[in-house]
């Protein structure tokens, strides 16, 4: 166990185990956002789920690390770390099994208070921003901040901007937003500092669904530009509980 920081990109030799009390540790493949390292994070996550090691409660994947939580009364750090170390040489990062989603997004000015500013700061027309965003295919590195919020990488470089200097206190539910190299959708009304460029009528979280949260880490997401009329039609179906969110999954 080393406390030195690593800048690894997923090489097994440089994996670092970081201590998080007596109920968790992190398996760190990289300390920055890195797609190759993330693939190893997700591969370890899959291997761990499959192994059903005694005492493991759950694991939280992020950009470069997997946090493994355990019950210290059923296992120990030493025992569990040894089992995880044995898994590392057998990881299959290439065998990703995420789903692909197509999410309707209305980019009308009413839903996109920051679209004009983003366009201006990047020397583009608003239509170019819409096109750039809706043509992307995004990879969900991780979820966090609130239930169902996904950090999706793969935003066109022409759209990169730092976060807003003054975060909004209230971002409307369903807002589609960008910041740095990422895009996201706000599952709830909440505070938020990203640039709002559209809105989706679908719900990333619904309590009554068998799987209440739509997205998972490792999934991919595309956006389908829709008119205000189509937004309203889907929104009405969602409100009436008649919208099948499973239909957003693209068969591939």
């Amino acid at each position: 166990m080393s406390n030195t920081e690593n800048q690894a990109v997923g090489d097994q030799a440089t994996v670092v185990f970081q201590t998080m009390g007596d109920t968790a540790f992190s398996v760190e493949f990289a300390t920055k956002v890195d797609r190759a390292a993330n693939a190893r994070v997700m591969a370890l996550h899959r291997a761990l789920a499959k192994s059903a090691l005694p005492g493991v409660i759950e694991a939280i994947p992020s950009f470069g690390a997997l946090v493994i939580q355990y019950d210290p009364l059923s296992t120990s750090r030493a025992e569990l770390q040894q089992a995880v170390e044995a898994m590392l040489p057998q990881l299959k990062p290439e065998a990703a099994a995420g789903r692909l989603w197509s999410i309707p997004c209305c980019y009308d000015a009413e839903f996109a208070p920051d679209l004009a500013e983003v366009a201006e700061r990047r020397g583009l027309k608003p239509a170019d921003v819409v096109q750039g965003h809706s043509q992307g295919r995004y990879f969900i590195y991780m979820l966090g901040f609130m239930p169902g919020l996904a950090y999706m990488g793969g935003l066109s470089e022409t759209l990169h901007l730092p976060r807003r200097s003054a975060p909004r206190l209230k971002v409307p539910q369903g807002s589609v937003a960008i910041a740095e190299a990422m895009t996201t959708i706000y599952p709830w009304e909440s505070p938020g500092g990203w640039h709002l460029i559209g809105r989706t009528p679908v719900r990333l979280f619904e309590q009554h669904r068998p799987e209440p949260i739509l997205f998972a880490a490792g999934d991919e997401v595309t956006f389908r530009a829709v008119s205000r009329a189509e937004f309203d039609k889907i929104a009405a179906e969602v409100a009436a509980g008649r919208f099948n969110h499973g239909s957003l999954k693209v068969m591939s």
């Binding site: 406390n3 300390t31 996550h45 009364l73 966090g144 901040f145 949260i213």
Partner: protein, 345 residues
Amino acid sequence: MIRVKAPGLFTTLQDLGRYGAQEQGMPVAGAMDTLGLRIANALCGNAQNTAALELSYMGPTLVAEAESVQFGLAGNMAVEWLPADGGSPKKLGSWRSVTLKRGEALRIGVLGEAYTYVAVAGGFDLPPLLGSLSTYTRAGLGGFEGRQLRENDALPLKSVTPGSDQELAADAASLYGEGPVRVTLGPQAYRFSEAGTQAFLSGEYTVSKEADRMGLRLEGPVIEHLRGADIASEGIVTGAIQVPGNGQPILLLADHQTTGGYTKIATIISADLPRVGRLKPGAKLRFQAVSVAEAESIRRAQEAALKSLLGGMRLARPEGGLDLDALYTANLISGMVDAATGADA
């Protein structure tokens, strides 16, 4: 059914937490003081993970609207039994169970700690979300309608035949431990200067007024970073001690977000989390570093002590006895002193 006559300051349903969906951003939530929850449940014959009412600072008044309802009480608090005919209230001790008949009520006043627990024999008849009844109020999820209790709420109960009323035969205080709060260093201890780590481990910190189920902001010696407070977001565990740019630590507790992008200098060991969860604004604390192996053995010892405490439960003595009265007074006074400190902090 239980009718909420007065809701208390912030009363929610909590069990041992909602595990399994943190990777999708779902916080664990659950009891701030898991020992208190487990004792309250044991006192009324429930499994330890049964959801109970978590009280905060000022308790509720609960009316039994069933033939009989047995409550399990854990934590230091002022408890009164109100007869159905409106007669004069009778003082009860805590750390016991008590069975109420239809129309009788339990009135709970000032708490000695930030959080205490009232369990109900059989538990609440409510639908779990992702396997748990814990309330996460920030997103309006779980528990009773995803929120704190309000006046006149009707809480449905599972039907059971309660056993006889029990009480603890020994003081629960020793379970919680005392002295410095024990931590393991990491996961980002290497991002702090030696002086910063030294300040953290030798200084005295005070719980600020910004204290809730999500976490406690502390005030004390500044913890110096080596180069900035930002990291790529990663998973967070309950008890993580996050240090943002101002160098003042934040203890992340039950309702913490599942991921975060600030450096974390240390993590509170699991045996000391219940004690920290009970702290009020104004409380002072120090930290002491231990190894993971030490933390594991401290936790095993605590579990053994809990088992022995629960194994030694005995039939409750009649209400209002002299001993209980004395105990009650002592608890109430210490509770009031703490509350006053909190208000001034």
